[in-house]
């Protein structure tokens, strides 16, 4: 298994609050890794370390190493544009831009290169929408505002928008929490299909979801990564008492 993201003694503080404590983990390429844990344990925070989204928050301080393809992304000289192009993120609430469907998808292409030919853009739109299984639904509505889509379509569009910039890693922070069960099932199906091409890390509150879609699982509690390993093992034979308690539903 190829290692895609490795964290070594990762610590993070929001001001004085110690939100991530000595996290050591290892995310493999072409696998889906789920991060689970009770509310406020630092799942989103960890995810947002990987594309340095925490930089937007004032007073954040990080220590340790986060390696991807051998580069420590926490270094001050890390190029955030390149990093975020490589490691993309899907948010909890679908957040398409208030632009047309077409403009949403070509957004990434346009910001990373000048003067792309119209043909090329059309091509990007088609392949991206196809890979999230939206092409047939939307091919005649590309000029329509993206904000008019259904929630599920919006979330798929956000995934398509991300795929259009050809990342290696997809970070997903509770991507299904605003969707109904059927839509959730379809998005999970999509994740399995995307797995062969990407490293996927998904934060979820929903243990069934983690069990259904992920290959590996990490369990977090109060900023610590308690246990990390293959999903089957974590769910059937957890090593740590606290993991067991959580999985059997003894925490909120």
């Amino acid at each position: 298994m190829k290692e895609k993201i490795i964290t070594k003694n990762l610590n993070l503080w929001y001001g004085a609050f110690h939100a991530l404590k000595n996290v050591n983990s290892n995310f493999s390429a072409n696998r889906i890794t789920a991060i689970i844990g009770p509310s406020g344990c630092g799942k989103s925070t960890l995810l947002r370390v990987f594309n340095r989204m925490n930089d937007l928050i004032e007073g954040v301080r990080m220590e340790g190493e986060v390696l991807t393809d051998g580069i420590n992304i926490l270094e001050a000289r890390a190029d955030l544009v390149v990093l975020r192009k490589k490691i993309g993120m899907v948010f909890q609430r679908p957040n398409p831009f208030p632009l047309s469907i077409y403009e949403n998808i070509v957004f990434g292409a346009k910001i990373h290169a000048d003067n792309i030919k119209k043909d090329r853009l059309d091509e990007i739109v088609e392949t991206s929408l196809k890979s999230v299984l939206l092409w047939d639904e939307l091919k005649d509505k590309l000029k329509k505002p993206a904000l008019r889509l259904s929630l599920e379509q919006k979330q798929r569009l956000c995934i398509a928008r991300l795929i259009a910039v050809t990342p290696d890693v997809l970070l997903m922070d509770e991507p299904c929490s605003t969707l109904d069960p059927q839509a959730t099932a379809r998005v999970e199906e999509l994740m399995r299909e995307l797995k062969s091409k990407y490293t996927i890390i998904i934060v979820t509150h929903n243990m069934q979801q983690a069990a259904r879609v992920s290959d590996d699982t990490g369990f977090m509690l109060l900023g610590e990564l308690i246990e990390f390993g293959e999903t089957d093992k974590i769910f059937t034979a957890p090593k740590d008492k606290r993991t067991e308690d959580y999985i059997t539903g003894r925490y909120g």
């Binding site: 594309n51 989204m53 937007l56 955030l80 544009v81 390149v82 990093l83 975020r84 192009k85 993309g88 993120m89 948010f91 609430r93 957040n95 398409p96 831009f97 208030p98 632009l99 957004f107 990434g108 346009k110 910001i111 990373h112 956000c158 928008r161 991300l162 910039v165």
Partner: protein, 288 residues
């Protein structure tokens, strides 16, 4: 007892509400009655497109085209100056400035809005007018350009504060989405924030311009007050508002001059009304 009190208060408030509408209607009717009377003396087209404004010659010539052009020229100039600077300033305040500078700038803008227009006009007269005169080697610095610059200062606070509001209320997750795709700060502003705030910004611009069109005192002081057809931004002009202010005192009540000034009032009213309604449309589009 409580009930009677409620009843009286309710009725009182009702009367207040009705009264304001009543007065607006009354003013409007008066304006219409006095203004439309001018068409007993001139044809509407002659009035609107006539090139000569000689209200007290014999026979009086009542063409308001030079005044309309004067207003348009001054307003257009003010718009060209104030829109880019105002919107730029709003972007800086909403997105870029560190907290301290932001507060200072906002206070500064509010202060600018608080300066009475006469005072601005006076300052413009002693500073701006000679400057324009010297830079362009003109016989007089009392020009449309001076008026435009001056009015740009008056439109700026409106534009900045409303546009800043519009930018500020763009949902944070648009910004996060753009950053997460690797957009730079400027790309995020240009490609996401501005389109998202566009209707609010347009409303800001319309309201700013509305203020400019209605402004009287300051323009009267520094645009030269010559009711001639302007041939460039560097000629003296006279605006619609300044005409009314300057001539109302001397117009004989009931004369054609008097009616013509009211008709100018109608023209101004229509222009302001259109601008306000447009701004309102944009604002409400935003809230939807």
């Amino acid at each position: 007892m409580q009930k009677i009190k409620e009843f009286i208060i309710e009725k009182f408030i009702f009367i207040c509400g009705i009264a304001s509408i009543f007065f607006v209607v009354l003013i409007f009717l008066f304006l219409l009655k006095e203004g439309l009377a001018v068409f007993k003396f001139v044809k509407p087209l002659e009035f609107l497109l006539g090139k000569n404004w000689y209200p007290i010659s014999e026979p009086a010539q009542l063409g308001i085209l030079p005044l309309v052009l004067g207003s348009l020229l001054v307003t257009l100039g003010a718009a060209v100056i104030s829109i880019p600077i105002g919107v730029g300033c709003a972007i800086y305040i909403a997105e870029i400035a560190p907290l301290k500078i932001k507060e200072t700038l906002k206070a500064g803008i509010e202060l600018l809005a608080a300066i009475p227009s006469v005072v601005l006009g006076f300052i413009g007269m002693v500073t701006l007018v000679p400057l324009v005169k010297n830079i362009f080697h003109l016989p007089t610095g009392l020009t449309a350009l001076s008026g435009s610059i001056m009015l740009a200062f008056m439109a700026m606070p409106t534009i900045v504060s409303i546009a800043e509001d519009a930018l500020y209320s763009v949902p944070k997750n648009y910004k996060e989405g753009a950053f997460a795709l690797g957009a730079t700060h400027w790309q995020t502003i240009w490609r996401v924030m501005l389109p998202a705030a566009s209707s609010g910004i347009l409303a800001a611009v319309m309201l700013g311009i509305g203020r400019v069109i209605g402004e009287t005192m300051a323009v009267m002081m520094i645009t030269g007050n010559a009711a001639i057809m302007p041939n460039s931004i560097l000629s003296p002009v006279r605006t619609l508002t300044a005409t009314i202010a300057a001539e109302m005192g001397e117009a004989v009540v009931g004369s054609e001059h008097y009616f013509a000034l009211f008709a100018i009032g109608i023209v101004l009213f229509v222009i302001s009304f259109i601008i306000n309604v447009t701004a309102d449309l944009f604002l409400h589009k935003d809230q939807k």
